[in-house]
Protein backbone atom coordinates (compact mmCIF):
# COMPACT_ATOMS: atom_id res chain seq x y z
CA UNK A 1 0.00 0.00 0.00
CA UNK A 2 1.10 3.55 -0.72
CA UNK A 3 2.31 5.37 2.31
CA UNK A 4 1.40 9.04 2.63
CA UNK A 5 2.99 11.88 4.57
CA UNK A 6 0.47 13.40 6.96
CA UNK A 7 2.21 16.78 6.72
CA UNK A 8 1.57 16.82 2.98
CA UNK A 9 -2.14 16.27 3.63
CA UNK A 10 -2.16 19.07 6.20
CA UNK A 11 -0.69 21.43 3.61
CA UNK A 12 -3.15 20.40 0.90
CA UNK A 13 -6.08 20.81 3.27
CA UNK A 14 -4.86 24.22 4.43
CA UNK A 15 -4.54 25.37 0.83
CA UNK A 16 -8.15 24.39 0.28
CA UNK A 17 -9.44 26.04 3.45
CA UNK A 18 -7.40 29.18 2.79
CA UNK A 19 -9.28 29.65 -0.48
CA UNK A 20 -12.42 30.72 1.37
CA UNK A 21 -10.88 31.70 4.72
CA UNK A 22 -8.65 34.69 4.08
CA UNK A 23 -7.46 34.80 7.68
CA UNK A 24 -5.49 31.56 7.45
CA UNK A 25 -1.74 32.25 7.52
CA UNK A 26 1.18 29.84 7.77
CA UNK A 27 4.42 30.66 9.58
CA UNK A 28 7.68 28.82 8.93
CA UNK A 29 11.12 28.88 10.54
CA UNK A 30 13.32 27.88 7.59
CA UNK A 31 11.10 24.81 7.72
CA UNK A 32 8.79 25.00 4.71
CA UNK A 33 10.61 22.13 3.02
CA UNK A 34 10.53 19.71 5.93
CA UNK A 35 6.97 20.79 6.75
CA UNK A 36 5.85 20.17 3.13
CA UNK A 37 4.55 23.75 3.09
CA UNK A 38 6.15 24.76 -0.19
CA UNK A 39 2.88 24.33 -2.12
CA UNK A 40 1.16 26.71 0.30
CA UNK A 41 4.00 29.22 -0.14
CA UNK A 42 3.63 29.01 -3.90
CA UNK A 43 -0.14 29.34 -3.83
CA UNK A 44 -0.36 32.10 -1.22
CA UNK A 45 3.07 33.76 -1.07
CA UNK A 46 1.68 36.73 0.84
CA UNK A 47 0.18 34.45 3.48
CA UNK A 48 3.30 32.48 4.24
CA UNK A 49 5.25 34.40 6.84
CA UNK A 50 8.88 33.30 6.98
CA UNK A 51 10.52 33.98 10.33
CA UNK A 52 13.88 32.31 9.80
CA UNK A 53 15.54 30.08 12.39
CA UNK A 54 13.86 31.69 15.40
CA UNK A 55 11.36 29.44 17.12
CA UNK A 56 10.67 31.69 20.07
CA UNK A 57 10.02 34.60 17.77
CA UNK A 58 7.73 32.56 15.53
CA UNK A 59 5.39 31.63 18.38
CA UNK A 60 5.27 35.20 19.68
CA UNK A 61 4.59 36.56 16.20
CA UNK A 62 1.81 33.99 15.74
CA UNK A 63 0.22 35.11 19.00
CA UNK A 64 0.26 38.71 17.78
CA UNK A 65 -1.26 37.71 14.47
CA UNK A 66 -3.99 35.73 16.21
CA UNK A 67 -4.76 38.62 18.51
CA UNK A 68 -5.36 40.69 15.40
CA UNK A 69 -7.83 38.21 13.96
CA UNK A 70 -5.57 36.05 11.81
CA UNK A 71 -5.60 32.26 12.09
CA UNK A 72 -1.93 31.34 12.24
CA UNK A 73 -0.63 27.80 11.71
CA UNK A 74 3.00 27.56 12.80
CA UNK A 75 4.89 24.78 11.02
CA UNK A 76 8.24 24.07 12.68
CA UNK A 77 10.13 20.97 13.89
CA UNK A 78 8.35 19.63 16.98
CA UNK A 79 11.57 19.45 18.99
CA UNK A 80 12.41 23.14 18.64
CA UNK A 81 8.85 24.44 18.45
CA UNK A 82 7.92 22.99 21.82
CA UNK A 83 10.98 23.02 24.05
CA UNK A 84 12.65 26.13 22.61
CA UNK A 85 9.44 28.12 22.67
CA UNK A 86 7.95 26.63 25.83
CA UNK A 87 7.48 29.98 27.48
CA UNK A 88 5.93 31.63 24.44
CA UNK A 89 3.52 28.71 24.23
CA UNK A 90 2.72 28.93 27.92
CA UNK A 91 2.29 32.69 28.16
CA UNK A 92 1.56 34.12 24.71
CA UNK A 93 -0.57 31.26 23.40
CA UNK A 94 -2.17 29.31 26.24
CA UNK A 95 -2.37 31.87 29.01
CA UNK A 96 -3.33 34.75 26.72
CA UNK A 97 -5.68 32.37 24.91
CA UNK A 98 -4.67 33.29 21.39
CA UNK A 99 -5.97 31.30 18.46
CA UNK A 100 -2.64 29.77 17.47
CA UNK A 101 -2.25 26.34 15.90
CA UNK A 102 1.16 24.75 16.32
CA UNK A 103 2.20 22.08 13.83
CA UNK A 104 5.09 20.15 15.32
CA UNK A 105 6.70 18.38 12.39
CA UNK A 106 9.10 15.42 12.38
CA UNK A 107 7.99 14.63 15.90
CA UNK A 108 9.02 11.84 18.23
CA UNK A 109 12.04 9.90 17.02
CA UNK A 110 11.42 10.53 13.36
CA UNK A 111 14.69 12.46 13.01
CA UNK A 112 16.36 9.15 13.90
CA UNK A 113 20.12 9.32 13.76
CA UNK A 114 20.22 13.09 14.23
CA UNK A 115 20.16 12.51 17.96
CA UNK A 116 18.45 13.85 21.03
CA UNK A 117 18.59 17.52 20.01
CA UNK A 118 16.23 16.60 17.19
CA UNK A 119 13.99 14.10 18.95
CA UNK A 120 10.82 15.44 20.51
CA UNK A 121 10.08 13.00 23.27
CA UNK A 122 9.15 15.56 25.91
CA UNK A 123 6.61 17.68 24.03
CA UNK A 124 3.51 15.87 25.29
CA UNK A 125 4.77 15.93 28.88
CA UNK A 126 5.48 19.62 28.61
CA UNK A 127 2.32 20.77 26.89
CA UNK A 128 0.07 18.49 28.89
CA UNK A 129 0.89 20.45 32.03
CA UNK A 130 0.00 23.77 30.43
CA UNK A 131 -3.65 24.66 30.79
CA UNK A 132 -5.65 25.58 27.70
CA UNK A 133 -3.83 23.89 24.85
CA UNK A 134 -5.20 20.96 22.94
CA UNK A 135 -2.83 18.16 21.84
CA UNK A 136 -3.76 16.09 18.79
CA UNK A 137 -1.91 13.52 16.68
CA UNK A 138 -3.25 12.07 13.42
CA UNK A 139 -2.79 8.38 12.67
CA UNK A 140 -3.14 8.64 8.90
CA UNK A 141 -3.98 10.95 6.02
CA UNK A 142 -7.74 10.87 6.62
CA UNK A 143 -7.32 11.84 10.22
CA UNK A 144 -4.79 14.52 9.28
CA UNK A 145 -7.34 16.03 6.94
CA UNK A 146 -10.17 15.86 9.46
CA UNK A 147 -7.99 17.41 12.14
CA UNK A 148 -6.83 20.26 9.95
CA UNK A 149 -10.42 21.11 9.02
CA UNK A 150 -11.72 20.94 12.56
CA UNK A 151 -8.78 22.90 13.99
CA UNK A 152 -9.21 25.66 11.45
CA UNK A 153 -12.74 26.14 12.85
CA UNK A 154 -11.85 25.58 16.50
CA UNK A 155 -11.03 28.84 18.30
CA UNK A 156 -8.17 28.39 20.72
CA UNK A 157 -4.65 27.03 21.18
CA UNK A 158 -3.82 23.62 19.75
CA UNK A 159 -0.74 21.56 19.01
CA UNK A 160 -0.81 19.03 16.19
CA UNK A 161 2.05 16.56 16.34
CA UNK A 162 3.17 15.21 12.97
CA UNK A 163 5.67 12.43 12.33
CA UNK A 164 8.18 12.61 9.53
CA UNK A 165 7.59 9.14 8.10
CA UNK A 166 4.91 8.40 5.55
CA UNK A 167 2.26 6.17 7.11
CA UNK A 168 -0.16 3.52 5.95
CA UNK A 169 -3.88 4.14 6.05
CA UNK A 170 -5.73 3.26 9.21
CA UNK A 171 -9.12 4.43 7.97
CA UNK A 172 -10.64 4.02 4.53
CA UNK A 173 -12.10 7.51 4.28
CA UNK A 174 -12.65 10.72 6.23
CA UNK A 175 -16.13 9.60 7.25
CA UNK A 176 -15.64 7.81 10.53
CA UNK A 177 -17.09 10.49 12.75
CA UNK A 178 -13.97 12.36 13.79
CA UNK A 179 -14.52 14.52 16.83
CA UNK A 180 -11.91 16.39 18.85
CA UNK A 181 -11.52 14.79 22.27
CA UNK A 182 -13.37 11.59 21.35
CA UNK A 183 -11.23 8.50 20.89
CA UNK A 184 -11.93 6.00 18.13
CA UNK A 185 -12.20 2.29 18.86
CA UNK A 186 -10.68 0.63 15.84
CA UNK A 187 -11.03 -2.94 16.99
CA UNK A 188 -13.28 -4.45 19.63
CA UNK A 189 -12.01 -6.93 22.19
CA UNK A 190 -12.26 -7.83 25.86
CA UNK A 191 -8.92 -9.48 26.77
CA UNK A 192 -7.08 -6.18 27.04
CA UNK A 193 -6.98 -2.73 25.45
CA UNK A 194 -4.16 -1.05 23.61
CA UNK A 195 -4.39 2.71 23.59
CA UNK A 196 -2.10 4.63 21.29
CA UNK A 197 -1.88 7.46 18.73
CA UNK A 198 -0.01 8.46 15.59
CA UNK A 199 2.38 6.11 13.81
CA UNK A 200 2.06 3.32 16.37
CA UNK A 201 -1.69 2.89 15.76
CA UNK A 202 -0.78 0.68 12.83
CA UNK A 203 1.67 -1.31 14.95
CA UNK A 204 -1.06 -1.86 17.55
CA UNK A 205 -3.48 -3.10 14.90
CA UNK A 206 -0.84 -5.49 13.57
CA UNK A 207 -0.20 -6.74 17.09
CA UNK A 208 -3.93 -7.24 17.71
CA UNK A 209 -4.13 -9.31 14.56
CA UNK A 210 -1.29 -11.54 15.75
CA UNK A 211 -2.97 -11.89 19.15
CA UNK A 212 -6.19 -12.94 17.54
CA UNK A 213 -4.42 -16.06 16.27
CA UNK A 214 -3.53 -16.88 19.87
CA UNK A 215 -7.11 -16.35 20.96
CA UNK A 216 -6.46 -13.00 22.58
CA UNK A 217 -9.10 -10.40 21.81
CA UNK A 218 -7.40 -7.07 21.95
CA UNK A 219 -9.28 -3.81 21.81
CA UNK A 220 -7.41 -1.11 19.89
CA UNK A 221 -8.21 2.51 20.56
CA UNK A 222 -6.84 5.47 18.64
CA UNK A 223 -6.46 8.30 21.13
CA UNK A 224 -5.93 11.01 18.53
CA UNK A 225 -6.66 13.70 21.12
CA UNK A 226 -4.23 13.47 24.01
CA UNK A 227 -5.56 16.56 25.67
CA UNK A 228 -8.35 16.82 26.63
CA UNK A 229 -8.17 13.05 27.02
CA UNK A 230 -11.27 10.94 26.50
CA UNK A 231 -11.79 9.80 30.09
CA UNK A 232 -15.03 8.04 29.37
CA UNK A 233 -13.42 5.81 26.76
CA UNK A 234 -10.49 4.96 29.05
CA UNK A 235 -12.74 4.06 31.98
CA UNK A 236 -14.89 1.93 29.73
CA UNK A 237 -11.83 0.10 28.41
CA UNK A 238 -10.56 -0.48 31.93
CA UNK A 239 -13.89 -1.83 33.11
CA UNK A 240 -14.63 -3.99 30.10
CA UNK A 241 -11.17 -5.39 29.32
CA UNK A 242 -9.47 -5.27 32.72
CA UNK A 243 -5.97 -4.50 31.39
CA UNK A 244 -4.53 -1.55 29.53
CA UNK A 245 -1.39 -1.13 27.47
CA UNK A 246 -0.37 2.26 26.17
CA UNK A 247 2.13 2.88 23.41
CA UNK A 248 3.70 6.25 22.75
CA UNK A 249 6.46 7.64 20.58
CA UNK A 250 7.47 9.76 23.55
CA UNK A 251 9.24 9.41 26.88
CA UNK A 252 7.40 7.01 29.16
CA UNK A 253 7.65 9.71 31.82
CA UNK A 254 4.77 12.16 32.13
CA UNK A 255 3.46 11.50 28.65
CA UNK A 256 0.51 9.70 27.18
CA UNK A 257 0.78 6.57 29.33
CA UNK A 258 0.86 8.79 32.39
CA UNK A 259 -2.24 10.64 31.19
CA UNK A 260 -4.10 7.36 30.79
CA UNK A 261 -2.83 6.07 34.14
CA UNK A 262 -4.09 9.19 35.89
CA UNK A 263 -7.59 8.35 34.69
CA UNK A 264 -7.28 4.61 35.36
CA UNK A 265 -5.96 4.77 38.93
CA UNK A 266 -8.55 7.31 39.99
CA UNK A 267 -11.52 5.57 38.44
CA UNK A 268 -10.99 1.89 37.85
CA UNK A 269 -7.50 0.61 38.70
CA UNK A 270 -6.45 -2.27 36.43
CA UNK A 271 -2.99 -3.62 35.46
CA UNK A 272 -1.24 -1.35 32.98
CA UNK A 273 1.86 -1.45 30.83
CA UNK A 274 3.33 1.77 29.47
CA UNK A 275 5.39 1.25 26.33
CA UNK A 276 7.51 4.06 24.94
CA UNK A 277 10.99 5.49 25.04
CA UNK A 278 12.69 4.97 28.42
CA UNK A 279 14.33 7.75 30.39
CA UNK A 280 17.51 8.01 28.30
CA UNK A 281 18.59 9.71 25.07
CA UNK A 282 16.86 7.52 22.49
CA UNK A 283 19.18 5.20 20.63
CA UNK A 284 19.94 6.71 17.20
CA UNK A 285 18.61 4.94 14.14
CA UNK A 286 15.72 4.68 11.74
CA UNK A 287 12.26 4.79 13.36
CA UNK A 288 11.67 1.11 12.75
CA UNK A 289 14.98 0.13 14.36
CA UNK A 290 14.40 2.39 17.32
CA UNK A 291 10.86 1.13 17.87
CA UNK A 292 12.06 -2.46 17.70
CA UNK A 293 14.87 -1.71 20.15
CA UNK A 294 12.34 -0.49 22.68
CA UNK A 295 9.97 -3.39 22.12
CA UNK A 296 7.45 -1.54 19.98
CA UNK A 297 6.94 -4.22 17.35
CA UNK A 298 3.85 -6.32 16.74
CA UNK A 299 5.65 -9.47 17.95
CA UNK A 300 6.91 -7.99 21.18
CA UNK A 301 3.63 -6.24 21.93
CA UNK A 302 2.00 -9.68 21.83
CA UNK A 303 4.42 -10.92 24.47
CA UNK A 304 3.75 -7.90 26.62
CA UNK A 305 0.02 -8.43 26.18
CA UNK A 306 0.31 -12.02 27.39
CA UNK A 307 2.20 -10.88 30.50
CA UNK A 308 -0.42 -8.25 31.18
CA UNK A 309 -3.29 -10.71 30.79
CA UNK A 310 -1.50 -13.06 33.14
CA UNK A 311 -1.33 -10.30 35.76
CA UNK A 312 -4.98 -9.51 35.19
CA UNK A 313 -5.89 -13.16 35.83
CA UNK A 314 -3.43 -14.11 38.55
CA UNK A 315 -2.51 -10.79 40.14
CA UNK A 316 0.95 -9.29 40.46
Amino acid sequence: MNKIHNRQVVCETLIEIAKSDKDIVVLCSDSRGSASMKPFAEKYPERLIEIGIAEQNIVGVAAGLAHSGKKPFVASPACFLTTRSAEQIKVDVSYSNTNVKLLGISSGISYGALGMSHHSLQDIALLRAIPNIMIVVPADRFEAENMTRVLSEYKGPAYMRLGRNPVEDVYSSCDYGFELGRAVTLKEGDSLSILTFGETVKTALDAAELMEKEGIKCRVINMHTIKPIDEECIIKAAKETGAIMTIEEHSILSGFGAAVAEVVVQNCPVPMKIMGIPDEPAIPGKSKEVFAHYGISAENLCKEAEKLINIKKNGW
Partner: protein, 280 residues
Amino acid sequence: MNKKISQNVNLQKKAAQIRRDIVDIVYRTSAGHIGGSLSETDILVALYYEVMKIDPKNPHWSERDRFILSKGHAIDAYYCVLADRGFFDKERLQTYSQFGSDFIGHPNRAIPGIEMNTGALGHGLSIGVGMAIAGKMDNKDYRVFVLMGDGELAEGSVWEAAMAAANYKLDNLVAIIDRNRLQITGKTEDVMALTPLEDKWKSFGWNVSVVDGHDIPSICNALSKENKIDGVPSLIIAETIKGKGISFMENNASWHHGVMNADQYKMACEELDKMLEVLS
Protein backbone atom coordinates in the same frame (compact mmCIF):
# COMPACT_ATOMS: atom_id res chain seq x y z
CA MET B 1 58.93 32.68 3.60
CA ASN B 2 59.32 29.56 1.45
CA LYS B 3 58.50 27.44 4.41
CA LYS B 4 55.33 29.44 4.92
CA ILE B 5 54.25 28.96 1.29
CA SER B 6 54.80 25.23 1.35
CA GLN B 7 52.90 25.06 4.61
CA ASN B 8 49.98 26.88 3.01
CA VAL B 9 49.96 24.42 0.14
CA ASN B 10 49.99 21.62 2.65
CA LEU B 11 46.96 23.00 4.42
CA GLN B 12 45.17 23.49 1.13
CA LYS B 13 45.93 19.90 0.30
CA LYS B 14 44.71 18.88 3.69
CA ALA B 15 41.43 20.71 3.07
CA ALA B 16 41.01 19.00 -0.30
CA GLN B 17 41.66 15.64 1.36
CA ILE B 18 39.10 16.39 4.07
CA ARG B 19 36.56 17.32 1.40
CA ARG B 20 37.27 14.00 -0.26
CA ASP B 21 36.64 12.22 3.05
CA ILE B 22 33.40 14.17 3.55
CA VAL B 23 32.10 13.10 0.18
CA ASP B 24 32.88 9.49 1.05
CA ILE B 25 31.12 9.37 4.40
CA VAL B 26 28.13 11.36 3.21
CA TYR B 27 27.68 9.16 0.17
CA ARG B 28 28.08 5.99 2.19
CA THR B 29 25.35 6.90 4.67
CA SER B 30 23.02 8.87 2.39
CA ALA B 31 22.78 11.31 5.26
CA GLY B 32 24.68 14.34 6.48
CA HIS B 33 24.79 18.02 5.63
CA ILE B 34 27.24 18.31 2.80
CA GLY B 35 26.74 21.96 1.79
CA GLY B 36 27.59 23.47 5.15
CA SER B 37 30.33 20.91 5.72
CA LEU B 38 32.11 21.89 2.53
CA SER B 39 31.74 25.60 3.30
CA GLU B 40 33.33 25.30 6.74
CA THR B 41 36.15 22.91 5.80
CA ASP B 42 38.88 25.52 5.37
CA ILE B 43 37.91 27.17 8.65
CA LEU B 44 38.20 23.85 10.50
CA VAL B 45 41.52 23.10 8.83
CA ALA B 46 42.87 26.50 9.89
CA LEU B 47 41.72 25.90 13.46
CA TYR B 48 42.74 22.29 13.91
CA TYR B 49 46.04 22.25 11.97
CA GLU B 50 47.37 25.72 12.67
CA VAL B 51 45.60 27.91 15.19
CA MET B 52 44.31 25.86 18.09
CA LYS B 53 46.35 24.63 20.99
CA ILE B 54 45.26 21.01 21.25
CA ASP B 55 46.59 17.55 21.99
CA PRO B 56 44.59 14.85 20.22
CA LYS B 57 46.03 12.21 22.53
CA ASN B 58 44.82 14.17 25.52
CA PRO B 59 41.46 15.64 24.53
CA HIS B 60 40.68 16.77 28.08
CA TRP B 61 43.98 18.62 28.54
CA SER B 62 43.02 21.54 30.79
CA GLU B 63 45.05 24.13 28.85
CA ARG B 64 43.57 23.25 25.46
CA ASP B 65 41.74 25.76 23.30
CA ARG B 66 38.03 25.00 23.16
CA PHE B 67 35.96 24.68 20.01
CA ILE B 68 32.19 24.51 19.69
CA LEU B 69 30.48 23.65 16.43
CA SER B 70 27.34 25.65 17.01
CA LYS B 71 26.14 24.83 13.48
CA GLY B 72 26.12 21.23 14.63
CA HIS B 73 24.45 19.83 11.52
CA ALA B 74 27.69 20.34 9.59
CA ILE B 75 29.16 17.38 11.46
CA ASP B 76 30.63 15.64 8.43
CA ALA B 77 33.59 18.00 8.07
CA TYR B 78 34.09 17.98 11.83
CA TYR B 79 34.25 14.18 12.08
CA CYS B 80 36.68 14.00 9.17
CA VAL B 81 38.98 16.64 10.69
CA LEU B 82 38.92 15.08 14.16
CA ALA B 83 39.65 11.64 12.69
CA ASP B 84 42.49 12.95 10.57
CA ARG B 85 43.94 14.83 13.54
CA GLY B 86 43.99 11.52 15.42
CA PHE B 87 41.29 12.08 18.04
CA PHE B 88 39.90 8.68 17.11
CA ASP B 89 40.47 5.94 14.58
CA LYS B 90 39.07 6.87 11.18
CA GLU B 91 37.66 3.36 10.86
CA ARG B 92 35.08 4.25 13.48
CA LEU B 93 33.43 6.58 10.97
CA GLN B 94 32.20 3.49 9.15
CA THR B 95 29.32 3.42 11.62
CA TYR B 96 28.34 7.05 10.97
CA SER B 97 24.54 7.43 11.14
CA GLN B 98 24.03 3.71 11.64
CA PHE B 99 21.76 2.22 14.27
CA GLY B 100 23.24 2.59 17.75
CA SER B 101 26.39 4.42 16.62
CA ASP B 102 28.02 7.13 18.71
CA PHE B 103 28.67 8.89 15.42
CA ILE B 104 25.26 10.47 15.04
CA GLY B 105 24.28 13.37 12.81
CA HIS B 106 25.29 16.05 15.32
CA PRO B 107 28.23 16.58 17.66
CA ASN B 108 28.12 14.62 20.88
CA ARG B 109 30.56 14.25 23.73
CA ALA B 110 30.88 10.50 23.40
CA ILE B 111 33.37 11.30 20.63
CA PRO B 112 36.89 12.29 21.74
CA GLY B 113 37.60 15.91 20.89
CA ILE B 114 34.00 17.05 20.92
CA GLU B 115 33.39 19.46 23.78
CA MET B 116 29.62 19.86 23.70
CA ASN B 117 26.50 18.29 22.30
CA THR B 118 25.02 20.62 19.73
CA GLY B 119 22.45 20.39 16.95
CA ALA B 120 19.86 22.89 18.12
CA LEU B 121 21.07 26.11 16.53
CA GLY B 122 21.82 29.23 18.52
CA HIS B 123 23.30 27.58 21.61
CA GLY B 124 27.02 27.60 20.91
CA LEU B 125 27.86 31.21 21.60
CA SER B 126 26.28 31.18 25.06
CA ILE B 127 28.28 28.07 25.94
CA GLY B 128 31.39 29.78 24.61
CA VAL B 129 30.70 32.79 26.83
CA GLY B 130 30.56 30.47 29.83
CA MET B 131 33.82 28.75 28.92
CA ALA B 132 35.50 32.10 28.34
CA ILE B 133 34.33 33.51 31.68
CA ALA B 134 35.61 30.35 33.40
CA GLY B 135 38.97 30.77 31.65
CA LYS B 136 39.24 34.30 33.02
CA MET B 137 38.23 33.20 36.53
CA ASP B 138 40.85 30.45 36.50
CA ASN B 139 43.57 32.67 34.97
CA LYS B 140 43.99 30.27 32.08
CA ASP B 141 45.12 31.47 28.71
CA TYR B 142 43.12 29.09 26.55
CA ARG B 143 40.90 30.59 23.89
CA VAL B 144 37.36 29.61 22.98
CA PHE B 145 36.25 29.34 19.34
CA VAL B 146 32.62 29.09 18.29
CA LEU B 147 31.59 28.41 14.69
CA MET B 148 28.08 29.51 13.72
CA GLY B 149 26.03 29.42 10.55
CA ASP B 150 24.66 32.63 9.11
CA GLY B 151 21.06 31.38 9.06
CA GLU B 152 21.62 30.48 12.70
CA LEU B 153 21.99 34.16 13.55
CA ALA B 154 18.20 34.58 13.44
CA GLU B 155 18.08 32.92 16.86
CA GLY B 156 17.72 35.58 19.54
CA SER B 157 19.97 33.69 21.93
CA VAL B 158 22.95 34.44 19.67
CA TRP B 159 22.47 38.14 20.35
CA GLU B 160 21.96 37.62 24.05
CA ALA B 161 25.33 35.88 24.10
CA ALA B 162 26.88 38.58 21.92
CA MET B 163 25.84 41.18 24.47
CA ALA B 164 27.18 39.13 27.37
CA ALA B 165 30.55 38.57 25.68
CA ALA B 166 31.11 42.31 25.30
CA ASN B 167 29.80 42.99 28.78
CA TYR B 168 32.31 40.55 30.29
CA LYS B 169 35.11 41.81 28.01
CA LEU B 170 35.81 38.31 26.75
CA ASP B 171 38.87 38.84 24.59
CA ASN B 172 39.52 35.09 24.93
CA LEU B 173 36.39 34.38 22.88
CA VAL B 174 36.44 34.18 19.09
CA ALA B 175 33.21 33.67 17.17
CA ILE B 176 33.31 32.71 13.51
CA ILE B 177 30.41 33.01 11.11
CA ASP B 178 30.34 30.69 8.12
CA ARG B 179 28.88 33.37 5.87
CA ASN B 180 27.77 31.20 2.96
CA ARG B 181 24.62 33.30 2.48
CA LEU B 182 22.37 30.24 2.27
CA GLN B 183 20.20 28.29 4.64
CA ILE B 184 17.71 25.47 3.96
CA THR B 185 14.98 27.53 2.30
CA GLY B 186 17.29 29.68 0.20
CA LYS B 187 19.25 32.91 0.56
CA THR B 188 19.68 34.25 4.07
CA GLU B 189 18.87 37.72 2.77
CA ASP B 190 15.49 36.46 1.49
CA VAL B 191 14.65 34.35 4.52
CA MET B 192 15.66 36.78 7.29
CA ALA B 193 17.95 39.57 6.20
CA LEU B 194 21.23 39.93 8.11
CA THR B 195 22.78 42.88 6.31
CA PRO B 196 24.52 44.98 7.54
CA LEU B 197 26.02 42.09 9.45
CA GLU B 198 29.37 43.68 10.21
CA ASP B 199 27.75 46.78 11.68
CA LYS B 200 25.41 44.71 13.83
CA TRP B 201 28.31 42.96 15.53
CA LYS B 202 30.36 46.15 15.82
CA SER B 203 27.45 47.85 17.53
CA PHE B 204 27.31 44.91 19.95
CA GLY B 205 30.91 45.73 20.92
CA TRP B 206 32.85 43.13 18.98
CA ASN B 207 36.18 43.35 17.14
CA VAL B 208 35.03 42.35 13.65
CA SER B 209 37.10 41.14 10.71
CA VAL B 210 35.89 39.90 7.36
CA VAL B 211 37.96 37.27 5.53
CA ASP B 212 37.80 35.01 2.51
CA GLY B 213 36.68 31.83 4.24
CA HIS B 214 38.45 29.64 1.72
CA ASP B 215 41.83 31.36 1.98
CA ILE B 216 43.46 29.44 4.79
CA PRO B 217 46.35 31.88 5.45
CA SER B 218 43.86 34.76 5.75
CA ILE B 219 41.70 32.74 8.14
CA CYS B 220 44.76 31.85 10.24
CA ASN B 221 45.77 35.46 10.26
CA ALA B 222 42.39 36.66 11.42
CA LEU B 223 42.29 33.97 14.11
CA SER B 224 45.76 34.66 15.42
CA LYS B 225 46.27 36.04 18.90
CA GLU B 226 47.91 39.11 17.41
CA ASN B 227 44.56 40.15 16.07
CA LYS B 228 43.12 40.36 19.54
CA ILE B 229 42.08 43.65 21.15
CA ASP B 230 42.29 43.69 24.94
CA GLY B 231 38.89 43.44 26.58
CA VAL B 232 36.97 42.91 23.33
CA PRO B 233 35.58 39.65 21.92
CA SER B 234 36.48 38.89 18.30
CA LEU B 235 34.22 37.99 15.44
CA ILE B 236 35.40 36.66 12.10
CA ILE B 237 32.94 36.82 9.24
CA ALA B 238 34.26 34.13 6.90
CA GLU B 239 32.85 34.74 3.44
CA THR B 240 32.32 31.23 2.08
CA ILE B 241 30.62 29.28 -0.64
CA LYS B 242 28.14 26.63 0.40
CA GLY B 243 29.16 23.36 -1.27
CA LYS B 244 32.67 24.70 -1.93
CA GLY B 245 34.88 22.45 -4.04
CA ILE B 246 32.19 20.54 -5.89
CA SER B 247 31.01 22.75 -8.71
CA PHE B 248 27.50 21.39 -9.05
CA MET B 249 26.87 21.92 -5.34
CA GLU B 250 28.33 25.40 -5.02
CA ASN B 251 25.90 28.16 -4.03
CA ASN B 252 22.96 25.81 -4.38
CA ALA B 253 20.63 25.64 -1.37
CA SER B 254 19.32 22.22 -2.32
CA TRP B 255 22.70 20.77 -1.32
CA HIS B 256 22.14 21.79 2.29
CA HIS B 257 21.39 18.17 3.02
CA GLY B 258 21.16 16.82 -0.49
CA VAL B 259 22.10 13.18 -1.06
CA MET B 260 24.33 12.22 -4.00
CA ASN B 261 23.43 9.55 -6.51
CA ALA B 262 26.17 7.31 -7.92
CA ASP B 263 26.90 9.62 -10.87
CA GLN B 264 27.07 12.68 -8.70
CA TYR B 265 29.36 10.87 -6.30
CA LYS B 266 31.68 9.99 -9.16
CA MET B 267 31.72 13.56 -10.45
CA ALA B 268 32.42 14.90 -6.96
CA CYS B 269 35.31 12.47 -6.46
CA GLU B 270 36.81 13.28 -9.83
CA GLU B 271 36.72 16.98 -9.16
CA LEU B 272 38.36 16.64 -5.76
CA ASP B 273 40.93 14.12 -6.99
CA LYS B 274 41.91 16.56 -9.71
CA MET B 275 42.29 19.28 -7.12
CA LEU B 276 44.50 17.00 -5.01
CA GLU B 277 46.64 16.21 -8.03
CA VAL B 278 47.16 19.89 -8.82
CA LEU B 279 48.22 20.54 -5.25
CA SER B 280 50.70 17.65 -5.18
